[in-house]
Amino acid sequence: MLTYKRKTIGEIIGDVIIYAVLTVLAITMVIPFLYVIAASFATETEILTRPLFIIPETVTVDAYKRIFDLNDYGTRVFQSLGVSVGVTLVGTLASLFFTTTMAYGLSRRNLVGRNIMLNCVLFTMVFSGGMIPTFLVVKGLGLYDTYAALILPGVISAYNMLISKNFFQELPAGLEEAASIDGCTDLGIFVKIALPLSLPMLATFGLFYAVGYWNNYFGALLYLESQEKYPFTLILRNIVFMAQAAEADPNVELPQETLKMAIIVVGTVPILIVYPFLQKHFAAGVMVGAIKG
């Protein structure tokens, strides 16, 4: 910053400490992931004899062969991956649709009833009916044990909706006026002007919603009954935590450790793939001040 002032010894020591501490911290945070990835490619014996490693002695893909083998774990794995991918795609599109339409509507400052609606939305952020009443509503609507139950009950995040509302409010009013003079309806303005201008925002929320759907565990646990509808998170839980549940039943074959590791990796890889894109869009999604106004 200031080149004319040389650093004192104290400052250099401070720098060294800060860089060292943060480096160790950053590595510690990702080591568990590295270990799981390494272990998924290791032999069962190696996992049972080495407590921690990030490079396996012998590399093998046996675990992956088993989890993708249709005669073994494959059926459950592919089925649940299909559910997760489907729910993530449909859910993300649905969320973007519900969120942007409502946000755009509420961005009109002189709309009759706007304040009441905004206050209602804010109220849902401090008070909720709770798990069981919501569960009963989902059941009452006939959504219990359907894929829709994994999407609809949380299709809008009030927080994301309010941020997009503020975004639409900031769009230059002149554009909309010009379009309406040219005979464009409000619907046309929304589709042809507001949405194209908000593509970066749509990308941000799309990614955040997608991660939410992929990672969702609670919804599936609460609203699903049939095993064949389970998303990957539930299958992952069942396989990894099976040892606990199976203790009572000696007939159940316990999954190997490598297999558990491989399953965990499969659940994490999609996140790691979108992660670089996510990172680009962080700041937009976290403005607490955006709730106001």
């Binding site: 002032k5 400052e11 945070m29 409502m102 991660v211 609670f218 558990k260 965990i264």
Partner: protein, 324 residues
């Protein structure tokens, strides 16, 4: 005279006003159409359940007709308050929340102050990239990895998880962390630190990005050392953000999160891992005792509202912006 005139004109004005409103509503018909899906969502999944909390006052359980369930007044609540579970839940929830407040809450602040001191930009970016990762990974994955790290050896002579081995070397004892009730608090805390410390810095770093660099330059000219700069410039720049986050935290003091605890819960650690959220699930969804568990949930919601309102009030009284 003027007064009388005003009163006599008033109904007409009202009519005009109403007509104006109607034309405005008509003009905005497409906008209302756009609002419709979102409004339906909020009504169906947010407001109907709010009305649904009335079942807290009914003796309603799985398998019977909602309309036939008898009204029982506050008996679900009195049952809960007199139940031995009540104090246990309260204790567990407050311990888990309190430990998060004491041990977790300051960490993102400290980490962002440190990150802010990193002047080599690419290095700072690299550190940030790594510490944010756990936030985006599913709770199921976090808990599964924990499970693998603390597991005891399956067969004697083999090794357990890495953390199990470390603890064994440190204490000389073989500890099954997940089956020991008193340890579950620490497991939850460490998981939380692992998952959210990095992500927690984002909001503070955003606040720090707005600090004018000239302030630091002026401070350096005045002979302020690094700690003084941190204490007098950097820290004040994020105080209001810290207070906002603190209010949010206080408002959510009973929200211990559901997924994490239900995943780590087993029969052996249930005495210490059962909190309001998991209890509502276990009693309501698993056992089907709808009325009773809704009462528990409603009690929690009301306490939460009181918490957030009072935290907000206190913040405002101390000259801070508050949340709303």
């Amino acid at each position: 005279m003027a007064k009388v005139e005003k009163i006599t004109l008033s109904p007409e004005q009202k009519l005009i006003e109403r007509k104006r409103k109607l034309t405005r509503i008509k003009k905005d018909k497409w906008i209302y159409l756009l609002l419709l899906p979102g409004a339906l969502f909020f009504i169906l999944f947010k407001f109907v359940p709010m009305w649904g909390v009335l079942i807290a006052f009914k003796d309603y359980y799985a398998g019977i007709n909602f309309w036939m369930a008898p009204w029982v007044g506050f008996s679900n609540f009195t049952d809960f308050f007199t139940d031995s579970d009540f104090l246990r839940l309260f204790k567990n929830t407050l311990i888990i929340s309190g430990m998060n407040l004491v041990f977790f809450f300051p960490l993102p602040i400290i980490l962002s102050l440190f990150l802010n001191e990193m002047k080599i930009q690419w290095y700072k970016k690299a550190v940030q990239t790594l510490v944010y990762v756990p936030h985006f990974v599913s709770m199921v994955v976090i808990c599964s990895i924990t499970f693998m790290l603390v597991k005891t050896p399956s067969i004697d002579g083999f090794t357990g998880g890495a953390l199990y081995e470390i603890m064994k070397r440190l204490t000389g004892q073989s500890i099954n962390v997940l089956d020991t009730p008193s340890n579950i608090y620490w497991v939850l805390l460490i998981q939380n630190i692992w998952k959210e410390t990095g992500w927690g810095t984002v909001i503070f770093l955003a606040a720090l990005a707005g600090v004018d660099m000239e302030q630091y330059e002026a401070a350096i000219v005045d002979g302020a050392n690094r700690w003084q700069q941190m204490f007098y410039i950097t820290f004040p720049a994020i105080t209001s953000t810290i207070i906002t986050m603190f209010i949010l935290r206080m408002g959510a003091v009973l929200d211990t999160g559901f997924e994490q605890i239900i995943l780590m819960q087993n029969d052996l650690n249930k005495t210490t891992s059962e909190t309001f959220d998991t209890y509502v699930y276990n009693v309501g969804r698993v056992d089907g005792n709808y009325g009773y568990s809704t009462a528990v949930g409603l009690f929690k919601s009301i306490i939460s509202i009181i918490c957030i309102q009072s935290a907000n009030f206190l913040a405002k009284r101390h000259g801070q912006a508050g949340l709303f």
